[in-house]
Amino acid sequence: MNTPLSWIKAYVPGLDVTAQEYTDAMTLTGTKVEGFVQMDKNLDKIVVGEILSIERHPDANKLIVCQVSIGSETIQIVTGAPNVKVGDKVPVVLDGGKVAGGHSGEPLPEDGIKIKKGKLRGIESCGMMCSIEELGSSRDMYPDAPEDGIYILPADVEVGSDAIELLGLHDTVFEYEITSNRVDCYSVLGIAREAAVTFGKEYVPPVVKETGNNEDVNDYISVEVKDTDLCSRYCARVVKNIKIAPSPEWMQRRLAACGIRPINNIVDITNYVMEEYGQPMHAFDLDLIEGKKIVVRRAEDGEKFVTLDGQERTMDSDVLMICDANKAVGIAGIMGGENSKITDDVTTMLFEAACFDGTNIRLSSKRVGLRTDASGKFEKGLDPNNAEAAINRACQLIEELGAGEVVGGMVDVYGKKKEAITVPFDASKVNKLLGTDIPEEDMLKIFERLELVIDADKKNITVPTWRQDIERPADIAEEVARFFGYDKIPATLPTGEATTGGVSFEYNVQHTAMDIAEFYGFCEAMTYSFESPKVFDKLLIKEDSPLRSTVVITNPLGEDFSIMRTTTLNGMLTSLAMNYNHRNKNVRLYEVGRVYIPKAQPVTELPDERVQLTLGMYGDGDFFDMKGVVEDFLEKIGVTGRIVYDAKSGKEYLHPGRQANIIYKNTVIGYIGEVHPTVLNNYDIGEKAYVAVLDMPNIYPIANYDRLYKGVAKYPAVTRDISMVMPKEIMVGQIEDIIENKGGKIMESYKLFDIYEGEQIQTGYKSVAYSITFRAPDRTLEEKDVTEAMNRILKALAGIGIELRQ
């Protein structure tokens, strides 16, 4: 929404503020000014000149030398413009003045262009005659300006006077961000009303007088609304003996300042009233309306209709149409039809000002694929009471501009009249909500200015129908707050019952994970939660894998963002690949992020959102470095029992011989492994990469930050080393299982200290050596205690084919 300050001032005559003051104050009362353009910002020393004589330039074919009167004196100007003649009055920028832009209409330079006295091909030129583009505007906004030439001013203007004033360019155009609840502010009058209250000035809206001749509009047209749910009001008036002509200068200037191109008096009046009242209107050529009848009805499914831009469009039964006795003549609230549009030959016309259902217009406009200024206003849900005011204003302008003869009366199909509502008011409750101490009389003053009518016992407020945003006391409190001033409301801190606040246990576990990962050199990554279904193939995930059952987005931004991830690996590998591609060395990344596991297909309830700790790395480090990160994390969160690594984890995307499920007390809490070479290849990662993924919902229950002091050992330990030879396939985890299970209570710890394959060891075998420490907390161990424990261990080892090395 844009408005020129001059138009606002027309209804708030006392308004005397700078553009910046206006911007700041309006923004603080809720009509946010996004920015403003001072149209004369770079226009300086530009006056009306009259061309007294024109001679050819002696040395240049395309230049002419003009003697131009600027009132006080006559100056010589050299120009290349083809369109000037003796007697023309033109805008002239004098020596030392400034224009906004060049003559070809290229983007305007920030500080304009300075004009200085100079010589053109040897002949002195003391200024410049200006085109409309040089004045910072365009032919769209000044339709009377010539193409590629000097702007010619009307013959009756005074020589030497301010040309910028004459062109209406001493004005500032404001651009607003109007919130969707303030439908009334999508109009000049609505904004003027807010400005009047904001600055404490009088609001003087246009006085709309009765219009029309002695005829009766009902003799010209009848209106039937079939779908009253979609059209709450339809007002129609008729204008005959139309004389199409340009609209007056003032109207053109106001429309141009709002960014609307002036066309002719009828179109301009329609647009003018739409801007002024916020009520879109439509004009039909009445001679093209068959049967003297307007019918408002839903379209047929598949009905074709050609809009006035010449496009054929397809309707459906939820689109509301404006029809005559035989055919559709317009899409209600969106665009009129080609078959009834106003042309220069029009003699009689039908004005429509209606109120259509906002939601229906919004959805129809989307489906039909056509959004117009009118639909943009209708879709916000207009006040039906405004339609009558607007159509009468338009007819008044028709008469004032002499654009035609208005027929008496108005056809008004208005089912259930929209009445003003009342809202209870209690000043103490307003103050209680705001935390203020505003006297009731101050509130009442605000209401009065806003045309909110308080009843005699000051208990209820009648809200005018244009204020659709005011429905309950909280809305009244907002009105008080806005005009009392948000900035004047004190700043306090909540009192009342104290709360302890804090973070959850899960949050702490996640943050421990983050700290450990960072200690090990992993940087935190963030990746998207949605991805392409193609990632499953990229990760070699089997067709029947449950990971392929996903939460699917029905309106994604494209296939690449169409499913909610069920594994975090794609995000991690994509990020590693990006780093690899950028030649970053030794990259380590981690992410704490969710996967979204549907409970069933089709998805009817919310999926299981599981937080995953994902670690990924390439460069320095291997499987066991990654395993160290996992174990240090688990140790830090108090997981003290034995972590089991099951190599039979069956992950397609990992190296079949270098992967494991991470198991704690029979629950798989995650997995770890080297990324499968084919997957690495799919992601264009040219080095071995390792990943570990921990399923946090399975970690939280086993995490524990409580610690108990156990005392330091008082009695000496006994250590026994054993060296074993065994087939390569046996994993040391099996030995550790046995030590754990058979060592008894006195087994304190064990440590792998040597592992060897090669010379002196039979092919297919390896040598492994462990150091086992025994200790009792309450006594010095005796030889036989240790021997018994060792015998149990050795016997069990022998049971799985492991022999002590001789």
Partner: protein, 339 residues
């Protein structure tokens, strides 16, 4: 014997005095005072003396012993110090040689900012809570006073799973979920991911983060909202930061406001970052709409409260002067290691 003792004393003292190493010093100690040392030998010779002479001579020997011991200690002390000094001299290192660093990882800038925000609010008694990202339409819209066909639903460019389930477009549904539990008073923040169908570019991402805040109690006022957010802005952006509340509209709050803070780069003078205005918009807020309270089963006649929503990425980008939002989701370590 006396003469021998005197001579021994002089000789020993002189030798000890001129000794230059601790080893030699130790040898001298043994040579004179040891079990087979010279002084001991003299003492042994005492048996040849008369009974009257013996005590006197014994005393003399002891005096000599004491004198030698004092001297030995004195010289030992001197030599030890010299030796230590020499050792320290030879151990001089070049302290400007490179450090041996553990290559620490770095937290994501979004999370650094988030943790700051969380700490500020936890300090004010807020609980950090969580909610689902794949959310029922009801919680994301209806419970927040955005009924079916409300234009705000279109404005927010929602991703749909089906008619009832969406990717949440805001963290506000957590408000409704917490209120519904009915445990009052409430002071909470809910950070998390939200989704809107915006194409990826320098200032948009279809997936980003918000931090929702909610306080419900019997006497929570708009003034409290102002004070709370002013405090928050000061703690996050610096003590000198000022806030400006502008009226705005959100369906789930009334009255509503948008909040600007003085530009943290220029301090409010106007610069490129704040587009010359001196202010930067950082969040939306307001008093919880009475209908929203009603829908969650809270009596608006008894309870009132405020809510606010902060865009995390916006603050991260501004705070670190990051000029392209895509950097936050690319995970290039050359980017991540700067934080």
């Amino acid at each position: 014997m006396e003469n021998r003792l005197k001579a021994l004393r002089e000789e020993a003292l002189s030798k000890i005095e001129t000794t230059s190493t601790l080893d030699v010093l130790n040898e001298l100690r043994v040579a004179y005072l040891g079990k087979k040392g010279e002084l001991t030998a003299l003492l042994k010779g005492m048996k040849d003396l008369s009974a009257e002479e013996r005590p006197k001579f014994g005393q003399m020997v002891n005096e000599v012993r004491e004198a030698l011991e004092v001297k030995l200690d004195e010289v030992k002390d001197k030599l030890s110090k010299a030796a230590l000094e020499l050792q320290l001299k030879t151990e001089v290192i070049d302290v400007t040689l490179p450090a041996k660093k553990k290559n620490l990882g770095h937290r994501h800038p979004n999370n650094i900012v988030l943790e700051e925000v969380e700490n500020i609010f936890v300090g004010m008694g807020y609980e950090v809570v969580d909610g689902p990202e794949v959310e029922y339409d009801y919680y994301n819209f209806e419970a927040l006073n955005i009924p079916a066909n409300h234009p705000a639903k279109d404005e927010q460019d929602t991703f749909y799973i089906n008619n009832e389930i969406v990717l949440r477009t805001q963290t506000s549904p957590v408000q409704a979920r917490v209120m519904e539990k009915g445990k009052l008073p409430i002071r909470m923040i809910a950070p998390g991911r939200v989704y809107r169908s915006d194409e990826v570019d320098a200032t948009h991402s279809p997936c980003f983060h918000q931090i929702e805040g909610l306080v419900i109690d019997k006497n929570v006022t708009f003034a409290d909202l102002k004070g709370t957010l002013a405090e928050f802005a000061k703690k996050l952006f610096g003590e000198q930061t000022k806030v400006k509340f502008r009226p705005h509209h959100f369906p789930f709050t009334e009255p509503s406001a948008e909040v600007d803070v003085t530009c943290f780069k220029c301090g409010g003078k106007g610069c490129r970052m704040c587009k010359g205005s001196g202010w930067i918009e950082i969040l939306g807020c307001g008093m919880v709409h009475p209908h929203v309270l009603e829908m969650s089963g809270i009596d608006p006649e008894e309870y009132q409260g405020f809510a606010f929503g902060v865009g995390l990425e916006r603050i991260t980008l501004l705070k670190y002067e990051i000029d392209d939002m895509r950097l936050l989701y690319e995970n290039d370590v050359r980017f991540l290691k700067q934080f």
